[in-house]
Symmetry: C2
Subunit: 110 residues, 2 copies
C-alpha cells in the first residue's frame, strides 16, 4: 500500500450549514483526518458514532459537551473520544477543529 | 470508557535533539496525537513502524521521503501512511507536525 498525500488546496469544503463547513483530508481504511471550520456560534449537534475519534483544536475556542459534561478548549488542546460516546460542540470563538476517525468514516465520502 | 481531555499547556515537550521536540497529546488504545515541533533543518530520520500514521502539517514546510520518493508539503497538507512504510522528513521552514498513530505508540510514553 502506498502513502496518500493530500494537498489541502485541492480539497473542496462541504458546507454543513449553520456556520460550519468540512473537508476530508488524507485517509486510509484505519484513519481519516477531517478539518471542520466553524464560525462563532456554529454548532456540532450532540451525536454518537462507533468510530474512535480524536479532536485537535487548531484555532478558536469551543465548548464541548461530552456525556453530559461541559469542557472548554482552545488552540492546541486535544480530546480522545471512545466509541459511541455522546458528544457535541458549540464554537465560542471562530476556529478550526481537526477530527481524526478510526476506522475512516465511509459516510463522509462518496 | 470516558473521553480524555488534554490541555496543551499541561503537557511538557521532550527534546529529541537536532532542533526537534515532541509532546504526546490526547490518546487512547486506538489513537494517539503527537505534536512534533521542528526548527529549520530539523530531521526525522527515515524509519518504519507497524502503526498506521497520519500527519497533518500545522505550520512550516517539510520535505518527506516516503518509500524513496520525495514530496514537499506545507501548512494544511496531510499524509496517510500505511503500516511499515519507510518514511522520514527534513524541515524546510520551521513548523509543527501533528502525527496520529493507530494503535497508540507504547514507546512514546513511559
Amino acid at each position: 500500500m502506498e502513502a496518500k498525500v493530500v494537498l489541502h488546496h485541492e480539497v473542496p469544503f462541504t458546507e454543513l450549514g449553520g456556520g460550519v463547513k468540512r473537508r476530508v483530508l488524507a485517509y486510509n481504511a484505519q484513519q481519516m483526518i477531517v478539518e471542520v471550520v466553524f464560525e462563532k456560534g456554529g454548532v456540532g449537534a450532540p451525536h454518537t458514532h462507533p468510530h474512535v475519534q480524536s479532536t485537535y483544536v487548531k484555532s478558536g475556542a469551543f465548548r464541548f459537551t461530552i456525556d453530559g459534561k461541559d469542557v472548554d478548549v482552545t488552540a492546541g488542546d486535544t480530546i480522545a473520544f471512545p466509541p459511541d460516546i455522546l458528544h457535541g460542540t458549540v464554537c465560542l470563538e471562530a476556529g478550526t477543529l481537526l477530527d481524526i476517525f478510526t476506522p475512516m468514516r465511509e459516510d463522509f465520502i462518496g
